[in-house]
């Protein structure tokens, strides 16, 4: 479903639509927040953000992209949190201020990431290949889909699963 349809359902009280929005947007919002605060802080801000989405879905009123709206809430929540801790707000602003090289893992070193990739399977194994194409070679979803001969939707959901696996491995390794 499209984001604006989901938001309308959330406004009507459907929590499974909220879940869909969460699955779609929380990873990247978390990623951008992670640039400015530790993982625990990201978790707190994310939780407050999506609770605000649940409560304020009616306030969206179809004004612009849902993703941008959610990011706006997240930024505000992060600022509130920073102010409470007496810190200056360091959350990233509009993306234009960032170069693509900045889009690197926050607390995760490249070497650790490579080890995590290795845990996905031997060279050529599908998940590892997918991770390599998306995260190392910078391919677009369309390119990956064509390369692996699978539909784009499947690529997106597999990226989600790969991400979860990498996360589990990194957590186990104490990173």
């Amino acid at each position: 479903m499209r984001d604006d349809e989901l938001i309308a359902e959330v406004a009507a009280g459907d929590s499974s639509a909220l879940r869909a929005l969460f699955d779609r947007h929380s990873p990247w919002v978390a990623g951008r927040l992670r640039r400015a605060m530790p993982a625990e802080g990201v978790e707190d801000v994310l939780q407050e953000t999506f609770i605000a989405v649940w409560r304020g879905a009616r306030g969206h009123r179809g004004e612009g992209e849902v993703g941008a709206w959610i990011w706006g809430i997240a930024r505000r929540q992060a600022a509130v949190r920073a102010r409470k801790a007496g810190r200056v707000d360091l959350t990233p602003g509009p993306v234009s201020e960032q170069s693509s090289e900045d889009i690197a893992p926050g607390a995760v070193r490249r070497a650790d990431l490579h080890k995590a990739f290795a845990s996905l399977g031997p060279d050529g194994h599908e998940q590892r290949e997918l991770a390599r194409l998306v995260f190392e070679e910078d391919r677009t979803v369309a390119e990956v889909a064509q390369r692996l001969g699978i539909p784009e939707g499947t690529v997106k959901s597999r990226v989600f699963k790969v991400r979860q696996r990498l996360q589990a491995v990194l957590r186990q390794g104490g990173y």
Binding site: G13, S15, S16, R19
Partner: protein, 256 residues
Amino acid sequence: MAVIEVTAARNVEVQGLSQKFGRTEVLHGLDLEVGQGVFGLLGPNGAGKTTLLRTLATILRPGRGSVRLLGFDVTHAGEKRALRRRLGYLPQSLGYYPNFTVFEFIEYFALLKEMPSREVRPAVVRAIERVGLEEKAKSKLRTLSGGMLRRVGIAQAIVNEPDLLLLDEPTAGLDPEQRVGFRRLLREMGASGTVIVSTHLVEDVGAACTEVALMERGGILFRGAPDDLVARGEGSEVGDSPLERGYSSVLAAARV
């Protein structure tokens, strides 16, 4: 130096348990030790399965004999309370509060199990997701079907991640697909604790249990792996499946 062998205490240690109601003895000197895994309890009506489960659930005091669960002595008040925090129970017929929502019902019992306050709500969320009732989380119980109510019952039993989970005929009212999901849940719970399931459906037993016991008239007739029960049924013609044949064989031999 002598090596001292220490046998770790098992989760369920029952010795010589007897239960009487009025003048009828319902359980006779029952001995049972169960460790981690999924343990199935089979037997005809009146065999004493529910009485055994109620005793393990600390509803009934042991008439004679000793019952130690998770290392706790059930006759000692303080230990019983600590034990109950680690317990999960689903009775054969669970009443419900019609005006409670699914979330409220599970949360209520999480609170009564004295779960730490901060953990209660996330645990209720996880329990609801594990039984697949996310869509109904805010619905009042009186609007749910029988199968859904059963799942609510299962959710309250597992909400505190119990080390000892006792289920009395849990799959009643679940359709085959739901039973598959339920067996998966049983295996998950059995991986980290003890699950004791009393059931009429022999196939549930075969698919999910690491061990089974067959009860009749207050005693245990058979105990072993499902395959062993199947082996007992070799050559028998009573029963539509290998497990059923084993079941009938054991019962027939005992009744001779």
